[in-house]
């Protein structure tokens, strides 16, 4: 049995892991493949491809707006899979799909997972799917397609629930840095450090990646001192919308260099 690319990354990567979130179909309808290639080239370790949704209630203004643009561009889940059909010819880093439950349910969970597998998607994150429902209804299905499922915890998740969620989470656990929508803060405060410290002492069965509010080299490094790495979403989406004089690839290069400090 082949090893999941996410496990392989966490096993082999020595330094800080940088995972980047992109909204599928943003800024242009056909940009996603290009972005994945550029992200790999300039040093992202993993990419979460966001499935745009009309009602992204866990997202702040930046990702909301990118989702709206993507939908207006004509992005659909079915089209996304078609666009990514050949992606594994050029991109080797782990790829995840992240999205709200409703579009996935309309496609049908089994069809969705089957197409994830055909496309070479390694993992899935569905923030509004309750952990208990994932466990009883979908976990076996995910396993049968070999697709990993990663769950979220927040500073307000109690220890007992963290244990339960961590036990369900495959590949990594998504550590939401602060009780907030995406992109709401851009610093890491003392109370968050306590929370990360508490997590470290819990010896969880999966490694953690810190997300929400990671926006620059400083917050990235702080996050990485508490976890294997961090996830950057809103700040990257914002950077894609700026620097219009640069090509898409140049925007990616500039952004990743800023985070990596190279």
């Amino acid at each position: 049995m082949t090893i999941n690319r996410i496990d392989q990354l966490f096993r082999e990567r020595k330094g800080e892991i940088l995972s980047v979130y992109v909204t599928a179909g943003y800024p242009g309808l056909n940009d996603t493949g290009r972005l994945l290639e550029a992200l790999q080239e300039y040093g992202a370790d993993m990419v979460e491809i966001g499935i745009p949704f009309s009602d992204p209630l866990a997202d702040g203004p930046v990702i909301q707006q990118s989702s709206q643009v993507a939908l207006r561009n004509g992005m659909k889940l079915d089209l996304l899979f078609s666009q990514l059909k050949e992606i594994r010819a050029t991109v080797e880093i782990p790829l995840l799909l992240m999205g709200y439950l409703n579009p996935v349910l309309q496609m049908g969970m089994e069809e969705f997972l089957s197409r994830c597998k055909d496309t070479g998607i390694d993992g899935v994150i569905i923030p509004d799917l309750p952990p208990a429902e994932y466990e009883t209804r979908y976990r076996e299905l995910f396993r049968s397609y070999g697709i990993y499922y990663s769950l979220l915890i927040t500073p307000h998740t109690d220890n007992e629930r963290i244990d339960r969620i961590a036990a369900l989470s495959e590949g990594f656990l998504y550590l939401v840095a602060e009780a907030s929508t995406t992109g709401a803060r851009d610093s890491v405060g003392d109370h968050q450090k306590e929370y990360f410290q508490r997590l470290r002492e819990m010896n969880l069965p999966v490694p953690g990646l810190i997300g929400f509010g990671i926006s620059n080299r400083e917050t990235f490094l702080t996050a990485c001192s508490y976890a294997r790495g961090a996830i950057i979403g809103s700040a990257f989406i914002r950077a894609l919308g700026e620097n219009n004089a640069l090509t898409l690839e140049e925007r990616v290069e500039k952004f990743i260099r800023g985070i990596r400090g190279a």
């Binding site: 997202d59 909301q64 889940l77 409703n102 509004d128 309750p130 629930r161 009780a179 907030s180």
Partner: protein, 400 residues
């Protein structure tokens, strides 16, 4: 067949709490506490007192003689329009503000479409001295200026929402986002029987005072405590849930739900969610909703801002699916005609939402001895501009 919510928050296959982990502690706190608090004597005595002395309950059950003659049956109107702030919405906001007090919350958020729920929320916040923030689609802020002014006068902060289509659905998203960002000190007063469990059940219980009173009042007036037909309009469905509650398991009572067809069920300009919606997730609840084949939620249309919602409460989805409720889709024009008829026959100007329930009287053909109760959920003050507009039009037609 059971119509009470089950322990997982489901009505049949609808309901539940499909929320991101960031909201879990907020919802869990409510779920763990609401039943104990709401059923406690201290809560009930405060709740009952405010319903009586502040909202003005019980609201009358009025025998509508001329409408009864018109339709050849016995029609009673449950006068929720006579409540303080002009609709049934206050029943829920009184309940929730007391609950927020028990949970020691300091800050109230609410969403609103037409502004009725926003005003009802701002009202109880003024009454209890709570900070109040109301999210309202930017388009609705423009369309519903009088209610915006009322909320401001009551001391609420009205935040226009520019995301999405700038209407009720987007205001609800924004209120949920606020709650995610303020998990500890804030209570979210949802305005209808929608949202994640326990909201649909909690709001239904607060509104169930309506059917509780109908039972007593019908007994006094007709010598039996149930109607043959019970008619209500359904957007999210809170007035209908309240009117139906004590009759859900009573098969003698035909539950008639009037949804907004807008320009017509097949027109693409409609809000008839139970009729054309398909199962999915909206605002944390599995229910019927209007969506495209990619699972994107579609913008509804109705002349009535209060029915202009792409989902429906999970209880109503279940009532529709199980056949317990009979659904009629009422067009804008049918609702307007029913509003004019009620006004001229009974001297009561109903809200546009309520007019959809009144229009269902055209469809149900009750017998002469049948007892029909229509939940007159709200008054028409807020809709005068539209009514006057349409009245002028039909006068012009006559002159031509």
């Amino acid at each position: 067949m059971g119509f009470e919510v089950d322990s997982g928050g489901f009505y049949g296959e609808y309901g539940g709490a499909y929320i991101p982990e960031m909201l879990y502690p907020n919802i869990k706190e409510l779920e763990d506490n609401y039943m104990n608090i709401v059923s406690s004597d201290s809560f009930q005595s405060k709740f009952r007192l405010l319903l009586r002395d502040y909202a003005g309950r019980p609201t009358p059950l009025f025998r509508a003689e001329r409408l009864s003659d018109h339709y050849g049956t016995q029609i009673f109107l449950k006068r929720e329009d006579l409540n303080h702030t002009g609709a049934h919405k206050i029943n829920n906001t009184i309940g929730q503000i007391l609950l927020a007090g028990h949970l020691e919350k300091k800050r109230i958020i609410a969403e609103t479409g037409a502004g009725q729920h926003g005003v009802a929320a701002a009202t109880v916040c003024a009454l209890t001295g709570m900070e109040c923030i109301v999210y309202m689609g930017a388009l609705d802020v423009e369309r519903q200026a009088p209610n915006v002014k009322k909320m401001k006068m009551l001391g609420a902060k009205v935040i226009p929402v520019y995301s999405g289509n700038k209407t009720l659905k987007d205001a609800t998203n924004e209120a949920i986002r606020d709650w995610i960002n303020h998990p500890v000190d804030t209570h979210y007063i949802i305005g209808s029987v929608v949202g994640p469990h326990p909201y649909p059940d909690m709001v239904t219980r607060f509104q169930s005072v309506i059917s509780e009173e109908i039972r007593i009042q019908l007994m006094e007036k007709t010598n039996r405590n149930y109607p043959d037909y019970l008619v209500a309009c359904v957007g999210g469905g809170s007035n209908a849930a309240g009117a139906y509650y004590h009759y859900l398991e009573d098969d003698r009572v035909r539950l008639i739900s009037a949804e907004a067809a807008g320009l017509g069920v097949g027109s693409g300009k409609t809000a008839a969610t139970s009729l054309i919606g398909t199962p999915g997730i909206i605002h944390g609840s599995r229910t019927l909703l209007m969506q495209d084949d990619d699972g994107q939620i579609e913008e509804p249309y109705s002349i009535s801002a209060g029915l202009d919602y792409p989902g429906v409460g999970p209880l109503h989805a279940w009532l529709a699916k199980s056949g317990r409720a009979i659904l009629y889709a009422i067009t804008d024009d049918e609702a307007l005609q029913a509003a004019f008829l009620c006004t001229r026959k009974e001297g009561i100007i109903p809200a546009l939402e309520t007019a959809h329930a009144l229009a269902a009287l055209e469809k149900i053909n009750p017998g002469a001895e049948d007892v029909v109760v229509v939940n007159l959920s709200g008054r028409g003050d807020k809709d005068m501009e539209i009514y006057i507009d349409k009245l002028n039009l039909s006068d012009d037609d006559k002159q031509d």
